[in-house]
Protein backbone atom coordinates (compact mmCIF):
# COMPACT_ATOMS: atom_id res chain seq x y z
CA UNK A 1 0.00 0.00 0.00
CA UNK A 2 2.92 2.36 0.47
CA UNK A 3 4.29 4.45 -2.37
CA UNK A 4 7.41 2.98 -3.92
CA UNK A 5 9.35 6.18 -4.41
CA UNK A 6 9.92 8.38 -7.44
CA UNK A 7 8.56 11.83 -8.20
CA UNK A 8 5.38 10.42 -9.77
CA UNK A 9 4.37 8.54 -6.68
CA UNK A 10 5.11 11.59 -4.53
CA UNK A 11 2.85 13.63 -6.75
CA UNK A 12 0.13 11.00 -6.49
CA UNK A 13 0.43 11.06 -2.71
CA UNK A 14 -0.21 14.79 -2.72
CA UNK A 15 -3.13 14.50 -5.11
CA UNK A 16 -4.81 11.72 -3.15
CA UNK A 17 -4.32 13.69 0.05
CA UNK A 18 -5.56 17.03 -1.25
CA UNK A 19 -8.32 16.02 -3.66
CA UNK A 20 -11.71 17.30 -2.62
CA UNK A 21 -13.10 13.79 -2.26
CA UNK A 22 -12.89 11.56 0.77
CA UNK A 23 -10.42 8.70 0.22
CA UNK A 24 -9.99 5.94 2.77
CA UNK A 25 -8.66 2.42 2.47
CA UNK A 26 -9.44 -0.52 4.74
CA UNK A 27 -7.88 -3.97 4.92
CA UNK A 28 -9.68 -7.29 5.36
CA UNK A 29 -10.12 -6.69 9.08
CA UNK A 30 -11.60 -3.25 8.31
CA UNK A 31 -8.58 -1.49 9.81
CA UNK A 32 -7.91 1.91 8.23
CA UNK A 33 -4.85 1.86 5.94
CA UNK A 34 -5.24 5.28 4.39
CA UNK A 35 -7.07 8.44 5.40
CA UNK A 36 -6.86 11.58 3.30
CA UNK A 37 -7.27 15.20 4.29
CA UNK A 38 -10.94 15.40 3.26
CA UNK A 39 -11.72 12.59 5.72
CA UNK A 40 -9.58 14.17 8.43
CA UNK A 41 -11.08 17.63 8.02
CA UNK A 42 -14.69 16.54 8.00
CA UNK A 43 -14.44 13.89 10.71
CA UNK A 44 -12.04 15.76 12.97
CA UNK A 45 -9.95 12.58 13.15
CA UNK A 46 -6.31 13.12 12.12
CA UNK A 47 -4.61 10.53 9.86
CA UNK A 48 -2.27 9.41 12.66
CA UNK A 49 -5.26 8.83 14.89
CA UNK A 50 -7.16 6.90 12.22
CA UNK A 51 -4.45 4.68 10.73
CA UNK A 52 -4.56 1.10 11.94
CA UNK A 53 -7.81 1.63 13.86
CA UNK A 54 -10.96 -0.37 13.24
CA UNK A 55 -13.35 1.65 11.04
CA UNK A 56 -16.37 0.70 13.13
CA UNK A 57 -14.55 1.73 16.30
CA UNK A 58 -13.85 5.15 14.80
CA UNK A 59 -17.48 5.52 13.69
CA UNK A 60 -19.79 3.59 15.99
CA UNK A 61 -22.80 5.03 14.13
CA UNK A 62 -21.97 3.30 10.83
CA UNK A 63 -24.60 0.74 9.70
CA UNK A 64 -22.37 -2.12 10.73
CA UNK A 65 -24.07 -5.20 9.33
CA UNK A 66 -24.85 -3.61 6.02
CA UNK A 67 -21.41 -2.10 5.51
CA UNK A 68 -19.69 -5.33 6.56
CA UNK A 69 -21.70 -7.23 3.96
CA UNK A 70 -20.93 -4.62 1.31
CA UNK A 71 -17.18 -4.68 2.00
CA UNK A 72 -17.12 -8.49 2.14
CA UNK A 73 -18.73 -8.70 -1.28
CA UNK A 74 -16.04 -6.44 -2.74
CA UNK A 75 -13.27 -8.51 -1.14
CA UNK A 76 -14.89 -11.73 -2.32
CA UNK A 77 -16.05 -10.85 -5.82
CA UNK A 78 -13.54 -8.14 -6.66
CA UNK A 79 -16.33 -5.95 -8.01
CA UNK A 80 -16.87 -2.21 -7.72
CA UNK A 81 -19.76 -1.27 -5.45
CA UNK A 82 -21.63 1.97 -5.00
CA UNK A 83 -23.96 3.87 -2.73
CA UNK A 84 -26.02 6.85 -3.80
CA UNK A 85 -27.48 9.60 -1.61
CA UNK A 86 -30.85 8.92 -3.19
CA UNK A 87 -31.11 5.59 -1.41
CA UNK A 88 -28.67 6.16 1.46
CA UNK A 89 -28.22 9.85 2.21
CA UNK A 90 -24.76 9.43 3.73
CA UNK A 91 -22.25 6.89 4.97
CA UNK A 92 -20.28 9.15 7.32
CA UNK A 93 -22.23 11.74 9.24
CA UNK A 94 -20.32 14.93 8.37
CA UNK A 95 -21.56 18.52 8.58
CA UNK A 96 -22.04 20.09 5.15
CA UNK A 97 -20.57 23.30 3.77
CA UNK A 98 -23.84 25.19 3.52
CA UNK A 99 -24.84 25.74 7.14
CA UNK A 100 -26.33 29.13 6.19
CA UNK A 101 -28.24 28.24 3.05
CA UNK A 102 -29.39 24.66 3.40
CA UNK A 103 -31.41 24.39 6.57
CA UNK A 104 -33.51 21.57 5.10
CA UNK A 105 -30.52 19.22 4.78
CA UNK A 106 -29.16 18.09 8.12
CA UNK A 107 -25.73 16.84 7.05
CA UNK A 108 -23.49 16.19 4.05
CA UNK A 109 -25.11 14.05 1.34
CA UNK A 110 -22.66 11.51 -0.09
CA UNK A 111 -22.14 9.24 -3.08
CA UNK A 112 -19.62 6.51 -2.29
CA UNK A 113 -17.64 4.13 -4.46
CA UNK A 114 -15.99 0.95 -3.20
CA UNK A 115 -12.93 -0.02 -5.26
CA UNK A 116 -11.17 -3.39 -4.95
CA UNK A 117 -7.38 -3.09 -4.55
CA UNK A 118 -5.43 -6.16 -5.66
CA UNK A 119 -1.95 -7.32 -4.78
CA UNK A 120 0.58 -8.78 -7.23
CA UNK A 121 -1.17 -12.18 -7.10
CA UNK A 122 -4.50 -10.57 -8.08
CA UNK A 123 -6.02 -11.16 -4.65
CA UNK A 124 -8.15 -8.33 -3.26
CA UNK A 125 -6.31 -7.22 -0.11
CA UNK A 126 -7.83 -3.78 0.47
CA UNK A 127 -10.91 -1.79 -0.42
CA UNK A 128 -10.70 1.89 -1.23
CA UNK A 129 -13.80 3.92 -0.40
CA UNK A 130 -14.26 7.30 -2.03
CA UNK A 131 -16.75 9.75 -0.54
CA UNK A 132 -18.10 12.52 -2.80
CA UNK A 133 -19.96 15.47 -1.32
CA UNK A 134 -23.20 15.77 -3.31
CA UNK A 135 -25.06 18.08 -0.92
CA UNK A 136 -25.45 20.71 -3.64
CA UNK A 137 -26.90 18.23 -6.12
CA UNK A 138 -29.27 17.03 -3.44
CA UNK A 139 -30.41 20.58 -2.68
CA UNK A 140 -30.92 21.34 -6.38
CA UNK A 141 -32.97 18.22 -6.75
CA UNK A 142 -35.11 19.11 -3.76
CA UNK A 143 -35.66 22.60 -5.17
CA UNK A 144 -36.51 21.12 -8.55
CA UNK A 145 -39.03 18.71 -7.06
CA UNK A 146 -40.55 21.55 -5.07
CA UNK A 147 -40.81 23.73 -8.19
CA UNK A 148 -42.38 20.89 -10.14
CA UNK A 149 -44.91 20.30 -7.39
CA UNK A 150 -45.81 24.00 -7.39
CA UNK A 151 -46.05 24.11 -11.18
CA UNK A 152 -48.35 21.14 -11.15
CA UNK A 153 -50.46 22.82 -8.49
CA UNK A 154 -50.53 26.05 -10.51
CA UNK A 155 -51.62 24.25 -13.65
CA UNK A 156 -54.86 23.12 -11.98
CA UNK A 157 -55.52 26.25 -9.88
CA UNK A 158 -57.13 29.57 -10.76
CA UNK A 159 -54.58 32.28 -9.99
CA UNK A 160 -57.05 34.86 -8.61
CA UNK A 161 -59.23 32.74 -6.35
CA UNK A 162 -57.02 29.71 -5.66
CA UNK A 163 -59.83 27.25 -6.48
CA UNK A 164 -59.59 24.80 -9.41
CA UNK A 165 -59.53 26.21 -12.94
CA UNK A 166 -61.91 25.31 -15.73
CA UNK A 167 -59.75 22.56 -17.23
CA UNK A 168 -59.40 20.76 -13.95
CA UNK A 169 -63.02 21.09 -12.86
CA UNK A 170 -64.18 19.71 -16.21
CA UNK A 171 -61.80 16.76 -15.88
CA UNK A 172 -63.10 16.13 -12.35
CA UNK A 173 -66.69 16.30 -13.55
CA UNK A 174 -65.93 13.84 -16.34
CA UNK A 175 -64.44 11.42 -13.79
CA UNK A 176 -67.40 11.85 -11.46
CA UNK A 177 -69.86 11.15 -14.29
CA UNK A 178 -68.02 7.91 -15.07
CA UNK A 179 -67.92 6.96 -11.37
CA UNK A 180 -71.61 7.72 -10.91
CA UNK A 181 -72.47 5.54 -13.92
CA UNK A 182 -70.35 2.70 -12.51
CA UNK A 183 -71.72 2.75 -8.99
CA UNK A 184 -75.21 4.11 -9.62
CA UNK A 185 -74.70 6.98 -7.12
CA UNK A 186 -76.50 10.27 -7.85
CA UNK A 187 -74.46 13.22 -9.11
CA UNK A 188 -75.45 16.88 -9.37
CA UNK A 189 -73.79 20.02 -10.59
CA UNK A 190 -74.36 23.72 -9.86
CA UNK A 191 -73.43 26.47 -12.30
CA UNK A 192 -73.56 29.94 -10.73
CA UNK A 193 -72.97 33.49 -11.90
CA UNK A 194 -72.43 36.74 -9.97
CA UNK A 195 -75.32 39.04 -10.87
CA UNK A 196 -74.43 42.34 -12.58
CA UNK A 197 -70.72 41.79 -12.10
CA UNK A 198 -69.89 43.99 -15.09
CA UNK A 199 -71.48 46.91 -13.21
CA UNK A 200 -69.31 46.23 -10.15
CA UNK A 201 -66.22 46.41 -12.32
CA UNK A 202 -67.36 49.49 -14.20
CA UNK A 203 -68.49 51.41 -11.12
CA UNK A 204 -65.90 50.37 -8.50
CA UNK A 205 -62.88 49.32 -10.58
CA UNK A 206 -61.19 45.97 -11.25
CA UNK A 207 -59.53 45.87 -7.87
CA UNK A 208 -62.89 45.93 -6.11
CA UNK A 209 -64.12 43.38 -8.69
CA UNK A 210 -61.27 41.03 -7.74
CA UNK A 211 -62.06 41.45 -4.05
CA UNK A 212 -65.69 40.60 -4.77
CA UNK A 213 -64.79 37.40 -6.66
CA UNK A 214 -62.45 36.26 -3.89
CA UNK A 215 -65.08 36.90 -1.24
CA UNK A 216 -67.79 35.10 -3.22
CA UNK A 217 -65.46 32.07 -3.52
CA UNK A 218 -64.73 32.23 0.22
CA UNK A 219 -68.44 32.19 1.03
CA UNK A 220 -69.16 29.36 -1.44
CA UNK A 221 -66.35 27.10 -0.33
CA UNK A 222 -67.23 27.80 3.30
CA UNK A 223 -70.68 26.33 2.68
CA UNK A 224 -69.70 23.14 0.85
CA UNK A 225 -69.13 19.65 2.15
CA UNK A 226 -65.70 18.07 2.11
CA UNK A 227 -66.13 15.99 -1.05
CA UNK A 228 -67.82 18.79 -3.06
CA UNK A 229 -65.48 20.34 -5.64
CA UNK A 230 -65.60 23.96 -6.67
CA UNK A 231 -63.96 25.62 -9.69
CA UNK A 232 -63.92 28.92 -11.58
CA UNK A 233 -65.61 28.29 -14.90
CA UNK A 234 -65.27 31.69 -16.56
CA UNK A 235 -64.96 35.39 -15.55
CA UNK A 236 -67.62 35.51 -12.82
CA UNK A 237 -69.01 32.04 -13.40
CA UNK A 238 -68.36 29.12 -11.03
CA UNK A 239 -69.08 25.40 -11.03
CA UNK A 240 -69.72 23.16 -8.04
CA UNK A 241 -69.63 19.36 -8.48
CA UNK A 242 -71.69 17.50 -5.88
CA UNK A 243 -70.93 13.74 -5.85
CA UNK A 244 -73.50 11.48 -4.21
CA UNK A 245 -76.13 14.23 -4.27
CA UNK A 246 -79.58 14.11 -5.88
CA UNK A 247 -81.47 17.10 -7.25
CA UNK A 248 -83.50 18.01 -4.10
CA UNK A 249 -80.35 17.96 -1.93
CA UNK A 250 -78.38 19.89 -4.55
CA UNK A 251 -81.11 22.48 -4.55
CA UNK A 252 -80.77 22.84 -0.77
CA UNK A 253 -76.99 23.35 -1.15
CA UNK A 254 -77.57 25.92 -3.93
CA UNK A 255 -80.04 27.85 -1.81
CA UNK A 256 -77.53 27.90 1.08
CA UNK A 257 -74.90 29.35 -1.30
CA UNK A 258 -77.33 31.98 -2.57
CA UNK A 259 -78.12 33.14 0.95
CA UNK A 260 -74.45 33.13 1.97
CA UNK A 261 -73.66 35.63 -0.80
CA UNK A 262 -76.80 37.77 -0.54
CA UNK A 263 -76.99 38.05 3.26
CA UNK A 264 -74.19 40.59 3.71
CA UNK A 265 -72.47 43.24 1.59
CA UNK A 266 -68.86 42.59 0.57
CA UNK A 267 -66.29 45.00 2.06
CA UNK A 268 -63.98 46.39 -0.62
CA UNK A 269 -61.52 49.28 -0.87
CA UNK A 270 -64.31 51.09 -2.72
CA UNK A 271 -66.72 50.53 0.15
CA UNK A 272 -69.33 47.82 0.84
CA UNK A 273 -70.95 46.30 -2.25
CA UNK A 274 -74.28 44.44 -2.15
CA UNK A 275 -74.22 41.27 -4.26
CA UNK A 276 -76.33 38.38 -5.40
CA UNK A 277 -75.80 35.21 -7.41
CA UNK A 278 -78.04 33.15 -9.66
CA UNK A 279 -77.66 29.37 -9.70
CA UNK A 280 -78.65 26.62 -12.13
CA UNK A 281 -78.78 23.03 -10.81
CA UNK A 282 -78.89 19.76 -12.76
CA UNK A 283 -78.69 16.08 -11.82
CA UNK A 284 -77.15 13.40 -13.99
CA UNK A 285 -79.91 11.22 -15.47
CA UNK A 286 -79.89 8.41 -18.07
CA UNK A 287 -80.70 10.86 -20.88
CA UNK A 288 -77.67 12.98 -20.10
CA UNK A 289 -74.99 11.69 -22.44
CA UNK A 290 -71.88 13.19 -20.85
CA UNK A 291 -70.50 15.84 -18.52
CA UNK A 292 -70.80 18.51 -21.20
CA UNK A 293 -74.49 17.87 -21.58
CA UNK A 294 -74.89 17.94 -17.80
CA UNK A 295 -73.19 21.35 -17.65
CA UNK A 296 -75.31 22.50 -20.56
CA UNK A 297 -78.49 21.60 -18.66
CA UNK A 298 -77.28 23.47 -15.57
CA UNK A 299 -76.37 26.42 -17.81
CA UNK A 300 -79.87 26.54 -19.27
CA UNK A 301 -81.38 26.48 -15.76
CA UNK A 302 -79.04 29.34 -14.84
CA UNK A 303 -80.21 31.29 -17.89
CA UNK A 304 -83.84 30.72 -16.85
CA UNK A 305 -82.95 32.06 -13.40
CA UNK A 306 -81.42 35.19 -14.90
CA UNK A 307 -84.50 35.77 -17.02
CA UNK A 308 -86.79 35.25 -14.01
CA UNK A 309 -85.10 38.16 -12.16
CA UNK A 310 -81.71 36.89 -10.77
CA UNK A 311 -80.80 36.11 -7.12
CA UNK A 312 -82.45 32.72 -7.25
CA UNK A 313 -81.97 28.97 -7.67
CA UNK A 314 -83.37 27.25 -10.74
CA UNK A 315 -83.22 23.50 -11.36
CA UNK A 316 -83.10 21.74 -14.69
CA UNK A 317 -86.38 20.04 -13.69
CA UNK A 318 -88.14 23.41 -13.51
CA UNK A 319 -89.23 23.17 -17.12
CA UNK A 320 -85.94 23.61 -18.87
Amino acid sequence: MSGDGGPDSELLEVIVDRVNVGVLVVDERFAVARWNRFMAMHSGIAPLEALGRDLFELFPDLPRRWLTQKLRSVFLLGNYAFTSWEQRPYLFRFPHNRPATAASVDCMRQDCTFIPIRDATDRVTHVCITVTDVTDACIYQMQLLDAMRRLEEMSVRDALTGIFNRGHIEARLRDEVARSRRHGDPLSVILLDVDDFKRVNDRHGHKAGDTVLREVVRRITGNLRQHDVCGRYGGEEFTVVLPGTDLPSARVVAERLRRAVACQAVETSAGPIKLSITLGVAQLDPDTIDHEMLLDRADRALYQGKRAGRDRVMTAADGC
Binding site: R65, W66, Q69, L77, F82, S84, E86
Partner: protein, 210 residues
Protein backbone atom coordinates in the same frame (compact mmCIF):
# COMPACT_ATOMS: atom_id res chain seq x y z
CA UNK B 1 -28.02 2.42 -43.87
CA UNK B 2 -27.43 -1.07 -42.63
CA UNK B 3 -24.58 -1.99 -40.39
CA UNK B 4 -22.09 -4.61 -41.43
CA UNK B 5 -22.76 -7.72 -39.37
CA UNK B 6 -20.05 -9.69 -37.64
CA UNK B 7 -18.70 -12.71 -39.52
CA UNK B 8 -19.75 -16.11 -38.13
CA UNK B 9 -16.26 -16.46 -36.61
CA UNK B 10 -16.42 -13.09 -34.93
CA UNK B 11 -19.89 -13.79 -33.62
CA UNK B 12 -18.84 -17.19 -32.34
CA UNK B 13 -15.83 -15.71 -30.57
CA UNK B 14 -17.87 -12.96 -28.92
CA UNK B 15 -20.57 -15.37 -27.86
CA UNK B 16 -17.96 -17.59 -26.24
CA UNK B 17 -16.40 -14.62 -24.44
CA UNK B 18 -19.82 -13.66 -23.09
CA UNK B 19 -20.56 -17.27 -22.24
CA UNK B 20 -17.49 -17.53 -20.04
CA UNK B 21 -18.16 -14.13 -18.44
CA UNK B 22 -21.74 -15.17 -17.77
CA UNK B 23 -20.53 -18.34 -16.09
CA UNK B 24 -18.37 -16.27 -13.74
CA UNK B 25 -21.25 -13.90 -13.00
CA UNK B 26 -23.61 -16.81 -12.38
CA UNK B 27 -21.11 -18.21 -9.94
CA UNK B 28 -20.89 -14.84 -8.13
CA UNK B 29 -24.67 -14.63 -7.96
CA UNK B 30 -24.94 -18.25 -6.78
CA UNK B 31 -22.51 -17.40 -4.02
CA UNK B 32 -24.45 -14.44 -2.67
CA UNK B 33 -27.85 -16.09 -3.13
CA UNK B 34 -26.65 -19.49 -1.97
CA UNK B 35 -28.62 -21.19 -4.72
CA UNK B 36 -27.98 -22.72 -8.13
CA UNK B 37 -28.37 -20.17 -10.92
CA UNK B 38 -29.64 -21.43 -14.26
CA UNK B 39 -27.89 -19.74 -17.18
CA UNK B 40 -29.23 -19.21 -20.67
CA UNK B 41 -27.22 -19.36 -23.87
CA UNK B 42 -26.14 -15.73 -24.28
CA UNK B 43 -27.39 -13.89 -27.32
CA UNK B 44 -25.19 -11.55 -29.32
CA UNK B 45 -26.29 -9.44 -32.27
CA UNK B 46 -26.21 -6.04 -33.90
CA UNK B 47 -29.54 -4.22 -33.71
CA UNK B 48 -30.94 -0.92 -34.92
CA UNK B 49 -32.42 1.55 -32.43
CA UNK B 50 -35.84 0.80 -33.98
CA UNK B 51 -35.61 -2.91 -33.26
CA UNK B 52 -33.87 -3.07 -29.91
CA UNK B 53 -36.99 -2.91 -27.70
CA UNK B 54 -38.71 -5.69 -29.66
CA UNK B 55 -35.57 -7.82 -29.54
CA UNK B 56 -35.29 -7.49 -25.77
CA UNK B 57 -39.03 -7.93 -25.17
CA UNK B 58 -39.01 -11.11 -27.25
CA UNK B 59 -36.25 -12.65 -25.14
CA UNK B 60 -37.98 -11.67 -21.89
CA UNK B 61 -41.31 -13.12 -23.03
CA UNK B 62 -39.64 -16.50 -23.29
CA UNK B 63 -38.64 -16.55 -19.61
CA UNK B 64 -40.58 -17.38 -16.51
CA UNK B 65 -40.74 -13.83 -15.20
CA UNK B 66 -41.61 -12.63 -18.64
CA UNK B 67 -43.96 -9.69 -18.79
CA UNK B 68 -42.17 -7.06 -20.88
CA UNK B 69 -44.78 -4.53 -19.74
CA UNK B 70 -43.82 -4.70 -16.09
CA UNK B 71 -40.08 -4.37 -15.71
CA UNK B 72 -37.93 -2.76 -13.08
CA UNK B 73 -34.66 -1.61 -14.60
CA UNK B 74 -31.27 -0.56 -13.27
CA UNK B 75 -28.76 1.02 -15.62
CA UNK B 76 -25.04 1.58 -15.34
CA UNK B 77 -22.36 2.85 -17.73
CA UNK B 78 -19.06 1.10 -18.40
CA UNK B 79 -16.19 2.56 -20.32
CA UNK B 80 -12.59 2.50 -21.43
CA UNK B 81 -11.89 2.13 -25.15
CA UNK B 82 -15.07 0.07 -25.44
CA UNK B 83 -18.05 1.82 -23.93
CA UNK B 84 -21.69 1.20 -23.39
CA UNK B 85 -24.43 0.73 -20.87
CA UNK B 86 -25.64 -2.28 -19.01
CA UNK B 87 -29.28 -2.60 -18.06
CA UNK B 88 -30.51 -5.21 -15.62
CA UNK B 89 -34.21 -5.94 -15.98
CA UNK B 90 -36.13 -7.52 -13.13
CA UNK B 91 -39.61 -8.94 -13.66
CA UNK B 92 -42.40 -7.65 -11.46
CA UNK B 93 -42.23 -10.74 -9.28
CA UNK B 94 -38.47 -10.90 -9.52
CA UNK B 95 -37.70 -8.13 -7.11
CA UNK B 96 -40.52 -8.16 -4.61
CA UNK B 97 -38.57 -9.67 -1.85
CA UNK B 98 -34.89 -9.56 -2.62
CA UNK B 99 -34.09 -9.23 1.07
CA UNK B 100 -35.78 -12.54 1.70
CA UNK B 101 -33.99 -14.07 -1.26
CA UNK B 102 -30.64 -12.91 0.05
CA UNK B 103 -31.47 -14.42 3.40
CA UNK B 104 -31.11 -11.08 5.13
CA UNK B 105 -32.34 -11.03 8.67
CA UNK B 106 -34.54 -8.33 10.13
CA UNK B 107 -31.64 -6.32 11.56
CA UNK B 108 -29.94 -6.05 8.20
CA UNK B 109 -33.20 -5.37 6.39
CA UNK B 110 -33.63 -2.35 8.64
CA UNK B 111 -30.27 -1.03 7.52
CA UNK B 112 -31.11 -0.96 3.85
CA UNK B 113 -33.99 -0.31 1.52
CA UNK B 114 -35.39 -2.60 -1.14
CA UNK B 115 -34.24 -0.14 -3.78
CA UNK B 116 -30.69 -0.31 -2.50
CA UNK B 117 -30.76 -4.11 -2.67
CA UNK B 118 -31.97 -3.96 -6.23
CA UNK B 119 -29.11 -1.67 -7.21
CA UNK B 120 -26.66 -3.93 -5.39
CA UNK B 121 -27.73 -7.12 -7.11
CA UNK B 122 -27.74 -5.38 -10.51
CA UNK B 123 -24.29 -3.95 -9.83
CA UNK B 124 -22.86 -7.33 -8.84
CA UNK B 125 -24.30 -8.99 -11.94
CA UNK B 126 -23.19 -6.43 -14.49
CA UNK B 127 -19.85 -6.01 -12.73
CA UNK B 128 -19.21 -9.75 -12.84
CA UNK B 129 -20.19 -10.16 -16.49
CA UNK B 130 -18.26 -7.08 -17.61
CA UNK B 131 -15.18 -7.95 -15.55
CA UNK B 132 -15.27 -11.38 -17.16
CA UNK B 133 -15.48 -9.89 -20.63
CA UNK B 134 -12.76 -7.32 -19.89
CA UNK B 135 -10.42 -9.98 -18.55
CA UNK B 136 -10.71 -12.08 -21.70
CA UNK B 137 -10.31 -9.07 -23.97
CA UNK B 138 -7.32 -8.06 -21.84
CA UNK B 139 -8.78 -4.73 -20.89
CA UNK B 140 -10.30 -3.13 -17.83
CA UNK B 141 -13.58 -1.23 -17.45
CA UNK B 142 -14.48 1.71 -15.26
CA UNK B 143 -18.05 1.87 -14.05
CA UNK B 144 -20.55 4.55 -13.17
CA UNK B 145 -22.80 4.09 -10.18
CA UNK B 146 -26.00 2.16 -10.94
CA UNK B 147 -29.22 4.14 -11.06
CA UNK B 148 -32.82 3.08 -11.04
CA UNK B 149 -34.27 3.64 -14.51
CA UNK B 150 -37.84 2.57 -13.99
CA UNK B 151 -40.14 0.67 -11.68
CA UNK B 152 -42.83 -1.37 -13.39
CA UNK B 153 -42.31 0.23 -16.81
CA UNK B 154 -42.49 -1.38 -20.23
CA UNK B 155 -39.46 -2.40 -22.28
CA UNK B 156 -40.79 -0.22 -25.12
CA UNK B 157 -40.63 2.85 -22.88
CA UNK B 158 -37.22 1.97 -21.50
CA UNK B 159 -35.70 1.53 -24.94
CA UNK B 160 -37.67 4.17 -26.81
CA UNK B 161 -35.81 4.78 -30.12
CA UNK B 162 -36.26 8.54 -29.77
CA UNK B 163 -34.33 8.51 -26.52
CA UNK B 164 -31.45 6.40 -27.79
CA UNK B 165 -28.48 8.37 -29.05
CA UNK B 166 -27.38 5.78 -31.63
CA UNK B 167 -28.59 4.10 -34.77
CA UNK B 168 -26.96 0.70 -34.36
CA UNK B 169 -25.64 -1.04 -31.30
CA UNK B 170 -24.14 -4.33 -30.28
CA UNK B 171 -26.71 -6.08 -28.12
CA UNK B 172 -25.61 -8.76 -25.67
CA UNK B 173 -28.27 -10.53 -23.60
CA UNK B 174 -27.95 -12.94 -20.75
CA UNK B 175 -30.63 -14.48 -18.59
CA UNK B 176 -30.23 -15.61 -14.99
CA UNK B 177 -32.85 -17.51 -13.04
CA UNK B 178 -33.05 -19.45 -9.81
CA UNK B 179 -34.47 -22.90 -10.25
CA UNK B 180 -35.96 -23.16 -6.79
CA UNK B 181 -37.32 -19.65 -6.26
CA UNK B 182 -39.35 -17.40 -8.50
CA UNK B 183 -36.50 -15.11 -9.36
CA UNK B 184 -35.07 -14.25 -12.72
CA UNK B 185 -33.42 -11.26 -14.29
CA UNK B 186 -32.20 -10.24 -17.66
CA UNK B 187 -28.92 -8.49 -18.36
CA UNK B 188 -28.65 -6.36 -21.47
CA UNK B 189 -25.41 -4.78 -22.67
CA UNK B 190 -25.64 -2.12 -25.34
CA UNK B 191 -22.56 -0.79 -27.10
CA UNK B 192 -23.11 1.88 -29.77
CA UNK B 193 -21.50 2.15 -33.23
CA UNK B 194 -17.90 3.05 -32.37
CA UNK B 195 -17.66 0.11 -30.01
CA UNK B 196 -19.04 -2.29 -32.64
CA UNK B 197 -16.03 -1.63 -34.86
CA UNK B 198 -13.57 -1.63 -32.01
CA UNK B 199 -14.95 -4.95 -30.79
CA UNK B 200 -14.55 -6.31 -34.34
CA UNK B 201 -10.85 -5.48 -34.23
CA UNK B 202 -10.42 -6.99 -30.77
CA UNK B 203 -12.17 -10.20 -31.86
CA UNK B 204 -10.04 -10.45 -35.01
CA UNK B 205 -6.90 -10.19 -32.91
CA UNK B 206 -8.19 -12.93 -30.62
CA UNK B 207 -9.00 -15.19 -33.57
CA UNK B 208 -5.63 -14.58 -35.19
CA UNK B 209 -3.85 -15.56 -32.00
CA UNK B 210 -5.49 -18.99 -32.09
Amino acid sequence: MSFQDYTPDQEDALQEVVNIAMGQAGSALAHILDSYVALSVPRVRIVSAQDVADAVAEMISGTREGDPEQMTAVRQAFFNNLRGESIVLFGAGGCDDLADLLGHDQALAQEETNEELLLDVANILSGAVLNGIAQQLETDFAYSAPTLMARGGSVQDLLNPEMLGWEYALLVEVNFSLEARGFSCHLVLLMPETSIDLMREVLDRMLEAL
